[in-house]
């Protein structure tokens, strides 16, 4: 069902673009059981050629940079290989078994899931609140919107390096401020303490990605018809009632799409963690991507890394499909 949808959407801009549109419209009625079958066939073939023309370059890129690496990873995952020479040492599913029994990998998976859940649980209400606030006409609105959005525009590595300096124990800005107001910061620092490190990373991620949520929600708010507000006001609805009954329900599709992006981003999380902690201390902040980089390029266990990447791929795929089916279903129907 959902598989058909992209084809129609992909084809429609083609047919509606330029002179080709007229031709197709002309061809379509002729496609019936009556005469003129050849013409229909020709126009049909031309449509395929058009599709091929526009799709081929993108498809080639996809094959080269997505499909081929995925196949290679699957192939690698059933061998023991240190990166030198040909793949010869076939081990079957041993790499998968070893990973699933590996505490570090399981811990990384749990960390990923924690980040998926907390990102949405924190950024959704916070982002919504800020978006509603910034949607009101007020002084400095534009400036505030920019300030909220700036972290998102900043390169992840740059933001990571800045935060790494800020949260340094004793000498960092944050500890200095805390000490100045008489609060004792954690002795091992925010990233050096196993119980705090993951939450510090989550806090920094929230700072970094809140801007995206706010900007998307603000865009969604522009699509809520003004008349509804007026009608509600005439009916004597309070500001809170208006938000709860009108704004948020109409913002639904935007929120659901943002949730999807946030989930995928959390599953793939790598750069920020690598800059801040490299997965430490004691793997407290390790994610699946960190695990597979450690195993692959650092330890030369390419078979293990291949198996880990296949597992990461499957988990992301299953979660994405489930999200599409269960949560985005309503929105997809609306489009079709």
């Amino acid at each position: 069902m959902t598989d058909d949808a992209p084809v129609t959407t992909a084809a429609s801009p083609v047919t509606s673009s330029g002179p080709a549109a007229g031709a197709t419209r002309e061809g379509r009625p002729a496609a019936g059981p009556s005469a003129g079958g050849r013409r229909a066939k020709r126009s049909q073939r031309r449509k395929y050629l058009e599709i091929a023309f526009f799709v081929t370059p993108a498809l080639a890129m996809l094959l080269l940079f997505v499909v081929w690496p995925v196949i290679t990873a699957v192939q690698m995952s059933v061998f023991r290989w240190n990166g030198r020479g040909p793949l010869v040492d076939f081990v079957g599913l041993a790499n998968y078994v070893s990973i699933l029994g590996n505490d570090v990998f399981v811990g990384s998976l749990v960390n990923n899931l924690i980040i998926v859940v907390t990102s949405i649980a924190i950024q959704l209400p916070l982002g919504l609140a800020i978006a509603l606030l910034l949607n009101r006409k007020m002084w400095g609105q534009g400036a505030l919107r920019t300030i909220i959005f700036v972290p998102y525009v900043l390169a992840e590595v740059v933001a990571g390096v800045i935060w790494f300096q800020l949260v340094q124990p004793q000498y960092g800005v944050i500890d200095t401020i805390l000490l100045a107001v008489g609060i004792e910061p954690p002795a091992q620092g925010w990233l050096g303490d196993m119980d705090l490190a993951l939450w510090t990373v989550v806090a920094i991620l929230t700072w970094k990605y809140l801007g995206l949520a706010v900007i998307l929600f603000l865009a969604g708010l522009q699509g809520v018809p003004e008349e509804l507000y007026e009608a509600a006001q005439l009916d004597g609805a309070s500001w809170w009632q208006v938000q709860r009954r009108i704004t948020i329900p109409l913002l639904g599709p935007t929120i659901r799409t943002w949730g999807f992006l946030s989930m995928i981003g959390s599953l793939q999380l790598f750069d920020m963690v690598w800059i801040l902690t490299k997965g430490g201390p004691a793997n407290a902040t390790s994610t699946m991507a960190v695990f597979l980089v450690n195993e692959g390029t650092r330890s030369n266990n390419f078979g293990i890394a291949g198996a880990a990447s296949v597992i990461l791929f499957l988990i992301a795929l299953v979660m994405a499909v489930l999200y599409q089916r269960l949560i985005l279903r309503r929105d997809a129907k609306g489009v079709a």
Binding site: N82, M194, T297
Partner: protein, 442 residues
């Protein structure tokens, strides 16, 4: 219209094919380059030697450019193509070339041990035992870690030691007047207590990068185990000797003193002012366990970019009842390896790099600790020169164990040691992790 469309489609398809072909061709071109080099050597005296090194800044880079030019002058027809790269970049590029089995430079740096063994097993390195026999003879004291099955595959040009670099001023302030060159563990604990009493964090360690923490354990092994015991264990994959667990217990005892900088579990090794070396450079800690590179790193992290006068060195402490020879040390170095399909001129060039002349210049610029005995007296920096008699004092020098064991086992070991620093693993766990990784490697 249709025809036009078809033409355009063909163009798009053609472009795609070209793109794919281009992507595949990358490998082919690299291959060709190396074969070209070979064929020209066979025909005439002309050859190109591609040389990768990591002295990519300042005097070191200038010196190596000069060395290459001198060699070209003395060997008409030979061109040395120098690629000076930042260290990490070089490692990444080398690893990619080794995996592809093509595009490998003719002369490049190797760190020896299990990493070298992997390259030798894959048939990528040239056996230098016969081809460079004179040089191998000169530096024979150091070739052990670059030997696989009695054949020497790389020529070590710098060999250093790991030990404690300390701040003489802070030690003095803490009332430590008598610093031993090779303290016992109790004397060492005395330093820690006195520094703490003076309000100075005694030690910095970049446990975030793992290997700096792992160096403590390696030294525990060097002290607690006989050199032969370690060699036998690496050979057999059987680490059941008690001394390996004892090494971990020694480190735990040091950890129990809580001597490390706050947040050491997330501290980096040597990048920037917040790293372990940065803390030493900015006079915030008393000492740091590090290799012979430390004066250069600390100097680079200071405002004036000079090696500070207060920097001193002493050996890793010895333990009571230790089985290891007290004069044994842990360290490592860098060697020049020659790729298997390099022209003969590459071997000549590698030998030239080890010559009295080049090694002396290398020492005078403090680029490392030379292996050629003719150059060891020329190390300019006094603190660094202090390491030479310790290194050449008759004891064995164990290579950094992670390099020795190769990436796969080495990283599993480092990960577990880092866990012990976080209080999440026991000395037994480290031994188990090594054995498990060694077994998995087959």
């Amino acid at each position: 219209m249709t025809r036009k469309m078809r033409g355009a489609t063909a163009v798009a398809l053609g472009a795609t094919v070209a793109l794919l072909a281009g992507a595949c061709a990358g490998q082919g071109t690299a291959d060709q380059e190396t074969t070209d080099g070979e064929s020209t050597t066979a025909e005439g005296g002309d050859a190109t030697v591609e040389w990768w090194h990591n002295s990519n800044t300042g005097e070191g880079k200038e010196y190596y450019d000069q060395v290459a030019a001198d060699f070209e002058e003395a060997n008409p027809g030979v061109t040395v193509q120098v690629e000076a790269m930042q260290h990490e970049d070089m490692l990444t590029k080398l690893q990619a070339a080794m995996q592809a089995g093509s595009g490998i430079p003719d002369v490049f740096m190797s760190r020896g041990g299990g990493e070298l063994q992997n390259d030798v097993d894959a048939g990528l390195l040239r056996d230098l035992t016969e081809d460079a026999s004179d040089t191998v003879e000169t530096i024979s004291a150091f070739t052990g870690q670059y030997t696989v099955d009695d054949s020497v595959y790389a020529l070590p040009f710098s060999m250093g030691l790991v030990g404690f670099w300390y701040n003489k001023d802070l030690f003095e302030q803490a009332g430590i007047d008598d610093v031993s060159d090779s303290p016992t563990i109790d004397e060492f604990y005395g330093y820690i207590d006195q520094l703490k009493a003076a309000g100075v964090d005694p030690l910095s360690v970049g446990a975030g990068d793992k290997w700096p923490a792992a160096h403590y354990w390696y030294y525990g092994v060097v002290r607690e185990c006989e050199f032969e015991t370690v060699e036998a264990a690496i050979e057999s994959g059987d680490y059941s000797d008690e001394c390996f667990v004892k090494a971990g217990e020694d480190v735990q005892e040091i950890l129990a003193k809580e001597p490390f900088n706050p947040g050491f579990l997330a501290t980096g090794a040597q990048e920037g002012p917040t790293s372990a070396s940065g803390l030493l450079a900015s006079e915030r800690v008393g000492m740091e366990l590090a290799g012979h590179w430390e004066p250069g790193v600390v100097g680079g992290l200071r405002e004036d970019e000079k090696v500070p006068d207060w920097l001193g060195w002493f050996a890793f402490p010895t333990f009571e009842g230790q089985a290891g020879d007290p004069s044994d040390q842990m360290g490592g170095g860098d060697a020049w390896a020659v790729s298997n399909d390099a022209p003969d001129a590459a071997v000549d060039f590698a030998e030239y790099l080890l010559s009295d002349e080049v090694q002396t210049g290398f020492a005078e610029l403090d680029m490392g600790l030379p292996t050629n005995p003719a150059a060891t007296g020329s190390v300019a920096n006094e603190t660094l020169a202090q390491l030479i008699p310790v290194r050449d004092g008759g004891g064995e020098t164990q290579l950094y164990l992670d390099t020795r064991l190769g990436q796969s086992v080495g990283n599993a070991m480092n990960d577990e040691i880092a866990l012990m620093f976080a209080g999440e693993a026991t000395p037994q766990d480290i031994v188990a992790a090594i054995e498990e990784a060694a077994a998995a490697q087959g």
